[in-house]
Symmetry: C2
Subunit: 299 residues, 2 copies
DNA sequence: CTTGCTTACGAGACTCGTAATAATT
DNA sequence: AATTATTACGAGTCTCGTAAGCAAG
């Protein structure tokens, strides 16, 4: 038994039992991979894959159990390498982050800027995706850390922890009728066209819940995954925006004309608090700079 | 990096950084082992061992961390093999148990007998030792399960669980003066020479505690690790025996002459309850027959 | 008839053991 | 002087890629 065989097995499972695809991903030949897996099966004395003639169609029960153990072994092998790298040179390395747009655009930049002064030799790679895509990227080992407000806490196979909390805010153009009110209520808001996040993103669930608890049916005319897109359409006058306050912060010192500058309505916090979390594989050892980034994002 | 290197590293650490001893234990050559470890260090980019000239004198900090991860990896490799074996043929295998004398002699035989009817093709190997030796045998991977009344629960690196509880009992020859009393007290007991377990074994701590709580100083004239040894000297008239009730059970139907047949004194349970436990490496996957043995011992 | 797994085979890399060397205790 | 680690080197093994074969959709 050797590590190569275990890596081959894991990749084959990840590629939906397609040996050709797995071989391609591993930069090796398909016959070699096929042979390696057969030899592993021989040595363990079990069949890992259900074969229909020459096709791999499924995992056997034994195979499923074996694969979970193999995943753990390879995780620990990664830990070994990462830990050794950290002792060898804590300064250099790579940090692959997956985040939603809102995090990538608003909460990550200051943290990454700080990281870059502390660890100038660390290469940061940022991948953007939906919360569920982020979860998949972590599982597949394509990224080291995932950052999002949704979905992370529910994954039992990932470790996740709180970073910070925030509320939604309501933004419009200064010319909007709602701007003339002393205080804005949810009821008033429900009178107008609204623009906010896609259901998967940035605490949208909490927005829907707030309206339904007040027995209101909001008219959401546009859903986006992206705070900037929402703000753009608000500027075009398509409706009132509900965005993360993270995305409003810098409106204050925006350089556009006053008439186009978005304003935050005095509505308090009608939508429940959101907590942005970081997640990574259970049992994964973090390098120093990974811990530093996580600390830099907590505030 | 390969598994061989990791095994070599683990064995070297287990043999107190003596490459020669490790090579011997692994049935390989010392130069090969030396080279493998150097290559591992090169590949990881760290030094694992502190070297004074050509002697390995200590682990580096990095080395210590690496070794703990390597232990985990090799544990999981074992899990992989064991799990595969269980799927391949749940009937055949080997079961290495370490136990104290009392367990090996009294509580294990019925459990092993039952196991042998259920799994006739499993080879059972029984090692005897003190509780602390048992712990070491588990740690070193020399045995699969350890069974003892002492020491197991305190080990944070081992998983352990309760099997069953028992009390000590007091035994003498029928001719002993204590036999004439209606009920026997600790105070009465302290008047006579006593024979019981070595301090490390079979709940001896609880015996000492009971006497000291009554402000009594028992005269313990003989300490043994072995219930049978205790009983033998009680038969010789050297003193009153305090043994596990496990070791008395079968006195009832012993075939020796009535005058030599030990009797249990009516003293109730002056010594606190003991709980015998089973322990194995944390994170270790048990085979079916291993679980079966553990279940067979619970009652 | 295209996709995809397995078998066959050979070049090159690698492992590992022996022998010699060197450094501690 | 004895013990113990490292270096050198070569035989044997193993890995892995190419080419060919063959089963399934």
């Amino acid at each position: 038994m050797n590590l190569q065989q275990l890596r081959y097995l894991r990749e084959t499972v990840r590629r939906d039992l397609n040996l050709t695809a797995a071989a391609l991903a591993l930069h090796t030949s398909q016959p070699g991979l096929s042979k390696a897996i057969r030899e592993l099966e021989d040595e363990l004395g079990i069949t890992i894959f259900v074969r229909h003639g020459k096709r791999l169609t499924n995992l056997t029960d034994a195979g499923r159990e074996v694969v979970t153990i193999v995943e753990r072994i390879l995780l620990e092998i990664d830990n070994l390498k990462r830990s050794a790298q950290d002792w060898h040179n804590a300064q250099v390395g790579e940090l692959r982050i997956a985040a939603t747009h809102t995090q990538a655009r608003y909460s990550l930049p200051p943290a990454i800027a700080r990281l870059r002064t502390q660890y100038p030799e660390v290469t940061v790679r940022l991948h953007q995706g939906s919360p569920s895509q982020i979860v998949e990227m972590i599982r597949a080992g394509q990224v080291d850390l995932g950052i999002a407000t949704e979905a992370l806490a529910q994954q039992t196979d990932l470790h996740s922890e709180d970073l910070f909390s925030w509320f939604h805010c309501v933004v419009t153009l200064p010319s909007h009728p709602l701007c003339h009110l002393e205080t804005v209520t949810l009821e008033a808001l429900a009178e107008y066209d609204l623009i906010t996040y896609d259901p998967q993103f940035a605490g949208r669930g909490r927005i829907d819940r707030a309206f339904s608890e007040h027995r209101l049916k909001p008219r959401i005319v546009l859903e986006a995954t992206d705070s900037d897109v929402i703000k753009t359409y608000v500027r075009l006058g398509l409706g009132v925006g509900i965005v993360s306050e993270l995305a409003f912060e810098e409106e204050a010192d925006a350089k556009c004309e006053p008439a186009n500058r978005l304003v935050k309505l005095p509505i308090g916090h009608p939508f429940a608090r959101n907590t942005t979390r970081v997640a990574y594989l259970h049992g994964r050892i973090l390098r120093g700079y990974e811990q530093a980034l996580i600390e830099a994002m907590k505030r």
